[in-house]
């Protein structure tokens, strides 16, 4: 890994490369909406700006809109940067491209893991109340809740959470096409199939059933552990989970890996609904299709 880093440092515009434990990644996320005829107006919100802080530094980020529109940005309740725009000239296609360069690394370690008695205390339950209750997308039934408790056994919270993540990973098959954007945790769990969104929803639901504050994280993943610097590969929109056990811990239950150099964080919320990368309404002709492409390049 280090020879590659040395290589890019010479080719990089930045004199200093990232710390050895970090990767510099460029992500190009393009959504293309095609319509069956002219759309007269549309109102949209994109959440395509990576978080800046914690284990990640965002060096550059921009959102381009075609046809051109004036964007308005704000930070939402969950801390995501939102790019809002509306269009009022007839168009048959809308392309939204988010381009970002970030340096990402593993979660800084160091917080003290608390025990169940702290998690069950009134203070934590009040502070993190909205991340402890199920949502429509993350709700799991009593049986799945019992399963989570069985997996947790007598383990302390941190270890129990990790065990639940591995359990979901071991019992759900990654399969795209089996679910859709509105599939709930229970629907996906019954089929034991789904994409990262579903696997994360199930995991979040089980973590909350244990009494762990848990949130859904939206972002990107570089698909290769041994990514070659300078090579652009097809990446994907990705999702993983975080839970609170004295501090926030992240884990990628789809791949059963720690969140680190390959993960770029966009935002966090109770479930997908709080952080969906793109949403909007339009009037005019019907939708003909929607394609998404994500290209990831390790720059250093």
């Amino acid at each position: 890994m280090s020879p590659q880093q040395t290589q890019t440092q010479t080719g990089s515009a930045q004199p200093d490369g990232p710390a050895p434990s970090r990767w510099r990644l460029q992500v190009v996320h393009r959504s293309r909406f095609s319509y069956g005829g002219p759309v007269r107006s549309s109102y949209n919100e994109a959440r395509l700006t990576p978080e800046n802080g914690g284990r990640q530094t965002t060096l550059r980020s921009r959102v381009e809109i075609e046809p051109a529109a004036t964007a308005f940005t704000y930070r939402d309740y969950w801390g995501s940067t939102v790019t809002a725009f509306d269009l009022h000239t007839p168009h048959e296609e809308l392309v939204v491209t988010g381009t970002s360069i970030v340096e990402a690394g593993p979660e800084p370690v160091g917080h003290e893991h608390v025990g169940w008695e702290v998690l069950r205390g009134a203070e934590v339950r009040d502070q993190y109340g909205e991340l402890l209750v199920p949502t429509r997308l993350t709700n799991v039934d009593a049986e799945v809740g019992a399963q989570a408790r069985e997996v947790a056994g007598d383990l302390p919270p941190h270890e129990a959470a990790a065990a639940v993540c591995r359990f979901v990973n071991g019992h759900m098959e990654y399969l795209s096409g089996a679910t859709h954007v509105k599939t709930t945790a229970m629907q996906a769990w019954r089929h034991r199939k789904g994409v990262c969104q579903d696997i994360s929803h199930v995991t979040v639901g089980m973590l909350r059933a244990l009494g762990l504050p848990a949130r859904y994280v939206s972002g990107y993943l570089h698909p290769k552990r041994d990514a070659v610097v300078g090579q652009t590969v097809t990446g994907e929109s990705h999702a993983w989970v975080e839970w609170w056990d004295g501090g926030w811990c992240a884990f990628d239950p789809t791949n059963s890996v720690e969140v680190g150099t390959r993960h770029v964080t966009l935002g966090r919320g109770r479930d997908y609904g709080d952080v969906s990368p793109f949403r909007g309404i339009f009037s005019g002709a019907g939708s003909e299709g929607h394609t998404v492409s994500v290209e990831v390049t390790r720059l250093a």
Binding site: D76, H88, D126, V181, K182, S276, R279, I281, H290
Partner: protein, 549 residues
């Protein structure tokens, strides 16, 4: 001739007019003297005239899906000047505390950090709208108009029953009641010094203009109504006309690049302040229900960008949640460093197992209220409920205690009311309306007195089929030598047919509704069922009643 008030029974409750039989309280002395000579028949004749006036004017309230006349009782409710001072101070204080709380909830959240209110009270409220987080109104006002519901307890003290900070309705009845009463009983008005209510629209307009985005010299204000089917449409039309501003529906507005305009026959015109009478959930399909056809896409971000003011602000419901209500006295102390002028009703939070159990054992002695219900819906009055209702209630309370609060029943005060030709006591409450213009909270002297017409009925909400009374707030006595008022109370409201639709217009699909599709593959549904395509195109501008310029 029998005395009009002979045999008027006094019960355990406070009576507004009589402390002892035949002896009116000071504020009612003049009314007592004026009404005495009328006896039963004369008063009944005047009452018929009053209801005729009201019917002709088309003052109605939609109850259980039907337009019904909103009965106006002929006996006014009178509040003395000193008593009113307390209400005025108490309401203004409460509004200021709730304003501070809302600014905190959608901003820094210090009230949680300081452990005055648990964060979960807010995060579990159905009316906490995270979409409004960080949205700061231009002059800081979120509660432009409020209705703080009061009742008077057995000891004669006013207590707050609930706060209404979203779109409290009823102020139009305050105005029309006064107008009708002064036409039917002009002699009563000659004998009293009653504070006027007819400057409410002027005050409201001034407050709305004061809330406009910065650097707008002459702000354009509109009233946004859900349409003629709304139970308060009459009020929306009346307020718009009296303020001299446009009454618009969502389809009349368009937001482009965070600039809101209204479509007029002369083209588009900029809008700066929207006095909206549409619920948050339907206001902006971009952030709330995407199937709403009565709102306007883009409003919320236009407000966030500081280009338009939405009044009342989005998300106010978190502060009139009935669970939060239990903390309002603490909020007054925390934000204002004052003791509350008006007390709450005695209320129990169902936030620990012991209290829940205690309440469950006494459901037949308590009043149970759903925390996010309004208009008296879902309230169970234990002492009057049958076995089955209580059993059902126990199941619901046990399942979701957070959804309920329990109150000791208050023996609401009674007020003499004309019932079947005789004067009888009926329970009343009071909704004073307050307007916050950013520098002062002004309380309309009077407010809406609602009266429960069935004997013994305690739920006095107008949406539960109650009636109302003209509510007089007497002026302080003039110091000797000061000239009398230049203008006697002679409010005349001209009712026009324009306020009332002669036929319901077709559902216009709205600018975004011919194909409104969620771009994240959400299935869209029209709330009003299939569109009436041809009918929609028939709706020319002229059909919009108040919207012709």
């Amino acid at each position: 001739m029998a005395d009009l008030f002979d045999g008027y029974p006094l019960g355990q409750q406070w009576d507004e007019m009589f402390g002892t039989p035949g002896q009116p309280r000071p504020a009612y002395a003049g009314l007592f003297t004026s009404l005495q000579p009328m006896a039963g028949e004369e008063l009944s004749a005047r009452a018929d005239l009053l209801s005729q006036t009201y019917r002709d004017a088309g003052v109605t309230f939609a109850h259980a899906g039907e337009e019904q006349p909103f009965p106006l009782d002929i006996v006014p409710r009178v509040i003395g000047a000193e008593e009113w001072d307390v209400i005025e101070r108490g309401v203004a204080q409460r509004v200021l505390a709730l304003e501070a709380f809302l600014a905190d909830v959608y901003g820094a959240g210090e009230v949680f950090a300081d452990r005055i209110v648990p964060r979960s009270v807010v995060t579990t409220s159905a009316h906490f709208h995270r979409q409004a987080h960080g949205l700061v109104p231009p002059n800081g006002v979120r509660v432009h108009v409020s209705g703080i519901d009061l009742v008077r307890d057995e000891a004669g003290d006013f207590r707050v029953l609930e706060d209404n900070l979203r779109s409290p309705s009823g102020v139009s009845y305050v105005i029309t009641n006064r107008a009708a009463m002064s036409q039917v009983l002009p002699e009563l008005f000659a004998d009293h010094r009653i504070q006027p209510v007819d400057d409410y629209p002027t005050r409201l307009l001034a407050a709305l203009k004061a809330s406009a985005p910065a650097n707008v010299a002459d702000p354009t204000v509109v009233v946004l109504t859900p349409g003629v089917y709304n139970s308060a449409y009459f009020e929306h039309a009346l307020l718009a006309r009296q303020m001299g501003v446009e009454l618009v529906e969502g389809r009349d507005l368009v937001s482009a690049g965070n600039q809101v305009s209204m479509r007029t026959t002369d083209g588009q015109r900029r809008v700066d302040v929207i006095y909206r009478r549409i619920d948050d959930e339907f206001l902006d399909p971009v952030h709330f229900r995407p199937d709403s056809v009565i709102g306007c896409a883009g409003l919320l971000n236009a407000a966030r960008a500081g280009r338009v003011t939405i009044a009342n602000a989005v998300g106010n419901g978190v502060a009139d949640d009935k669970l939060l209500y239990t903390w309002v006295p603490d909020l007054v102390r925390y934000y204002l460093n004052e003791e509350p002028v008006l007390a709450n009703a005695d209320t129990y939070r169902l936030d620990d197992a012991d209290t829940v159990q205690w309440v469950l054992e006494r459901l037949d002695q308590l009043v149970l209220k759903p925390v996010d219900g309004s208009g008296g819906k879902g309230i169970v009055i234990g002492p009057r409920a049958d076995e089955r209702t209580l059993t059902d209630l126990a199941v619901k309370v046990r399942a979701r205690p957070r959804d309920w609060i329990a109150q000791k029943p208050i023996g609401l005060s009674t007020c003499p009311t004309l019932i079947g030709g005789r004067i009888a006591p009926r329970h009343v409450d009071l909704r004073p309306f307050a307007i916050n213009d950013g520098s002062k909270v002004w309380v309309l002297p009077g407010g809406l007195t609602r009266v429960a017409l069935p004997e013994g009925e305690l739920v006095v909400n107008s949406s539960q089929g109650g009636g109302s009374k003209d509510t007089w707030v007497l002026s302080h006595p003039r110091p000797a030598g000061e000239p009398g008022p230049g203008r006697p109370e002679s409010t005349r409201i001209e009712f026009t047919a324009a306020d009332l639709p002669d036929e319901p217009p077709a559902q216009d699909p709205g600018p975004l509704n011919d194909t409104v599709v969620g771009q994240s593959q959400q299935q869209q549904q029209s709330r009003f069922g299939p569109l009436q395509g041809p009918a929609a195109s028939l709706r020319a501008v002229g059909g919009r009643g108040s919207f012709t310029c």
